[in-house]
């Protein structure tokens, strides 16, 4: 029973944190909320018998990726001016329409989901099983994922390097 309660608590935290993240005007605050949301999702993963996924969620998502965000935001150095602008952009007339659309989408999803029955399985799926599956039937997907990562690596390196070069040049120009 505790676990079920835990699930609902985690779910609530995730949702609230996400909403907060989406509505913040300060990027760092938003990011913190996002991390909270991710951690809550990790808890859910853990609760529904996917401990491996939960671990990855914390380590890679909340850890690596979010830290990347932090770095970039720090590099951009947005400051108070950015906050004001964000506040300006978040007028109700801007978000009322999209909110309606999102609502509709949610209702549709709800309608689809509502037909589903049954609890999640009682047994946990271990990391070993995931590993076997990854390098078994899904080996091609793994290869593609690795290619994707490589592409991302090269791409970000390229973009980032040009940024730095230009920056250096301009600094020299000043």
């Amino acid at each position: 029973m505790l676990e079920i309660t835990l699930f609902y608590v985690a779910a609530t935290i995730a949702l609230v944190a996400t909403v907060m993240a989406m509505t913040r005007t300060n990027a760092i605050h938003a990011l913190i909320y996002l991390i909270v949301s991710l951690l809550a999702v990790a808890v859910i993963f853990f609760l529904i018998g996917a401990p491996f996924a939960a671990a990855l969620e914390i380590v890679i998502y909340a850890g690596a990726i979010m830290v990347l965000f932090v770095f970039v935001i720090m590099m951009l150095n947005l400051g108070e001016r950015g906050d004001q602008q964000e506040r300006q952009w978040l007028q109700p007339k801007i978000w009322i329409g999209p909110a309606l659309l999102s609502m509709l989408l949610f209702v549709e999803l709800l309608y689809v989901i509502s037909a589903l029955e049954g609890p999640v399985s009682a047994t946990a799926v271990s990391a070993k099983e995931v590993g076997l599956s990854l390098f078994g039937p899904y080996v091609l997907a793994v290869e593609i994922a690795s290619m994707l990562l490589l592409a991302g690596l090269v791409g970000s390196f390229h973009l980032g390097r040009r940024y730095l070069d230009r920056g250096d040049l301009e600094k020299e120009g000043e």
């Binding site: 999209p98 659309l101 989408l105 549709e108």
Partner: protein, 616 residues
């Protein structure tokens, strides 16, 4: 055998014409003149010889040159048919044509485009000969259109003046309206009778149709349309007065002696059909007499010497139509011939005056020319006498016949006769009005020369013909159905003779001795109005301008910008609007993309749920 060679008669002028065109004026003037006159002269000579042969043995003759085209049972040939009627027409065309060609050599002496003139004129003679010699209606139509084009070319001969071009186009298009009716008539005749060969057609028509049927009536009315156009009768007469823009010998040849009588020839030639349609005959007679009176009134008011003669021509052809309409075929053709003589004479005479008076056309600026241009004066005297049908002139014999025959027509006859008499009275008045004003009174403009021999000879010969032409006997009895030997009462004949003389007297009193003052009438309001009305040719030109010409111009200008294209432009505009909308959508604004994606997603999911609810 001479008849085998009749094809040479139109062929020689045609050759001469083509030769003149090809050499494009690079020949010496003397040679050009000789070619032009000589070719028609030879044609006239050949016609004379053929005529002598024919008179010796008057049997109609057919000569097929080649099969023009053959499509199914439509097989017109290029073939000539030769009978008395053809002979009369050919004699007039080549004989009067020759004289006018000769006259032209002097009249056009100073002109820059000497060769072009004779090329056209020869071509006209050739086309006119083909018209009258044609064995079938299609070949006749060829000649018919051919003379139309030549008339167009010659009216607009002095092309640098736009007004001439205007007149030429008017002449062509107005006659073309009639021609189109005639073409439709040919379609109808062929569709119904299966042939366009005139002799065969007449035979078949008599077998298939009864007198008074609708089909022959429609066909005849369509042919009449063509005749009315070509012969300048109501309602298609408006082109002829304007056509006087051409050189005067052209007016003499085309617009007095030959081409304008083609309509008379056509009706006479197809008399077999017209006899099947009494209503059409009546229409011919009514058109004829109405035109005759209308034109006579107009002629009385004109001041341009050529326009007087032009309206007089319209009026005289009206008499011919009347003759045809009442069944006096022979009289009609006879009047055609005598009219060719005296009207050519008058036109040539007026040409001589115009030539010697620096292209002056207004009769009120002339006067007293009697002593200065004696040859022309006598020509005019004789010509006017014949035109007015004074006794013993050629015109007297022909017009008298027409009037008497008209009187004999049961029913409408006497009315036609009276109207004809009024016309005759007016004719005598306007023709002598012309003579008195131009040749008597005081001299206004001094002519700078008198006529040379090349003008004098044709005038003299035509004078002779106008005087004695009435004694000719034309060999057309075999062509037309015989007339009854009935004679009207003697008083009718006396009145017919007397009326022109009264006209002459009136003209003398009004225009020469001025003993009869008409100024009061002329100056009154009604007189002024009538004068203007008649002077403008009963306002018919104005009426047509309002009814047809302007609307056509308007329509054409309206359509110039292509309303149909607007339809396609609309398609283009719709496409462009879509294009614009789509490129708006492709704005590069990310959130817009996202929103539309979401929207699309929503729609797709809803559709999927709608279509296959079983996914649930």
């Amino acid at each position: 055998m001479m008849f085998e060679l009749v094809w040479l008669i139109p062929f020689i002028p045609l050759c001469s014409s083509v030769l003149l065109m090809l050499t494009a004026g690079n020949l010496p003037r003397l040679l050009i003149g000789s070619l032009g006159v000589g070719s028609v002269g030879i044609a006239a000579l050949l016609t004379l010889i053929t005529g002598i042969y024919f008179m010796a043995e008057p049997v109609p003759f057919e000569l097929t040159l080649w099969s023009w085209m053959q499509v199914g049972n439509f097989a017109p040939s290029v073939a000539f048919y030769f009978d008395g009627l053809t002979l009369v027409m050919m004699s007039v065309i080549t004989g009067v044509g020759f004289l006018i060609h000769l006259f032209s050599t002097e009249f056009m002496d100073q002109d820059h485009s000497y060769a072009r003139y004779f090329a056209y004129l020869n071509m006209f003679v050739a086309a006119m000969l083909i018209l009258v010699m044609a064995d079938n209606l299609l070949l006749l139509y060829l000649g018919w259109e051919g003379v139309g084009v030549c008339s167009y070319l010659l009216v607009g001969f002095w092309y640098k003046n736009s007004a001439n071009g205007q007149a030429a186009r008017k002449a062509f298009i107005v006659t073309r309206i009639g021609d189109t009716a005639m073409a439709l008539g040919l379609f109808l005749l062929f569709t119904e009778l299966g042939t366009l060969d005139i002799q065969a057609m007449t035979t078949v028509a008599k077998e298939t149709w009864q007198v008074g049927d609708n089909m022959p009536l429609i066909a005849c009315l369509l042919l009449l349309g063509g005749a009315v156009g070509k012969s300048a009768q109501l309602p298609l007469h408006t082109w002829l007065p304007d056509a006087m823009a051409g050189p005067t010998p052209v007016s003499a040849l085309i617009h007095a002696a030959t081409m304008v009588t083609a309509g008379v020839y056509l009706i006479a030639r197809t008399n077999g059909l017209f006899l099947l349609a009494p209503t059409a005959m009546m229409a011919v007679a009514i058109i004829g007499i109405a035109t005759s009176l209308m034109a006579a009134f107009t002629a009385l008011m004109q001041s341009d010497i050529k326009r007087i003669l032009a309206y007089s021509t319209i009026s005289q052809i009206g008499y011919m139509f009347l003759a045809l309409g009442v069944g006096a075929w022979t009289a009609g053709i006879f009047h055609l011939m005598t009219h060719a003589f005296f009207k050519a004479l008058l036109f040539l005479g007026s040409g001589a005056i115009i030539h010697c008076l620096h292209h002056e056309h207004n009769i009120f600026k002339m006067g007293g020319l009697r002593s200065r241009m004696p040859v022309t004066f006598w020509s005019f005297m004789i010509g006017s006498a014949a035109l007015a049908a004074l006794p013993m002139t050629s015109g007297f014999f022909s017009k008298d016949q027409i009037l008497l025959q008209a009187y004999l027509l049961p029913g409408m006859g006497p009315y036609f006769w009276i109207a004809g008499l009024v016309g005759a009275l007016l004719t005598a008045m306007y023709s002598f009005r012309l003579v008195f004003i131009v040749f008597f009174g005081k001299l206004n403009i001094e002519p700078d020369r008198d006529t040379g021999w090349r003008m004098a000879i044709p005038l003299t010969v035509l004078c002779g013909l106008s005087l004695i032409g009435g004694y000719f006997v034309i060999p057309v009895q075999a062509v037309f159905p015989p007339l009854s030997d009935e004679h009207p009462a003697l008083w009718v004949e006396y009145i017919s003779i007397l009326v022109p003389v009264i006209g002459l007297l009136l003209a003398y009193l009004i225009f020469h001795s001025r003993q009869l003052r008409v100024d009061g009438i002329v100056d009154s309001k009604i007189g002024q109005l009538l004068h203007r009305f008649w002077f403008s040719g009963w306002g018919i030109d104005w009426l047509y301008d309002q009814l047809f010409v302007r609307p056509y111009y308007g329509l054409s200008t309206m359509l110039k910008s292509e309303p149909v294209d607007a339809m396609y432009s609309l398609i283009v505009a719709i496409n462009q609007t879509f294009n614009q909308l789509l490129s708006e959508a492709q704005s590069g604004r990310m959130r817009w993309y996202i929103v539309s994606m979401v929207f699309g997603l929503l729609v797709l999911i809803s559709l999927a749920l709608q279509i296959s609810p079983e996914v649930l």
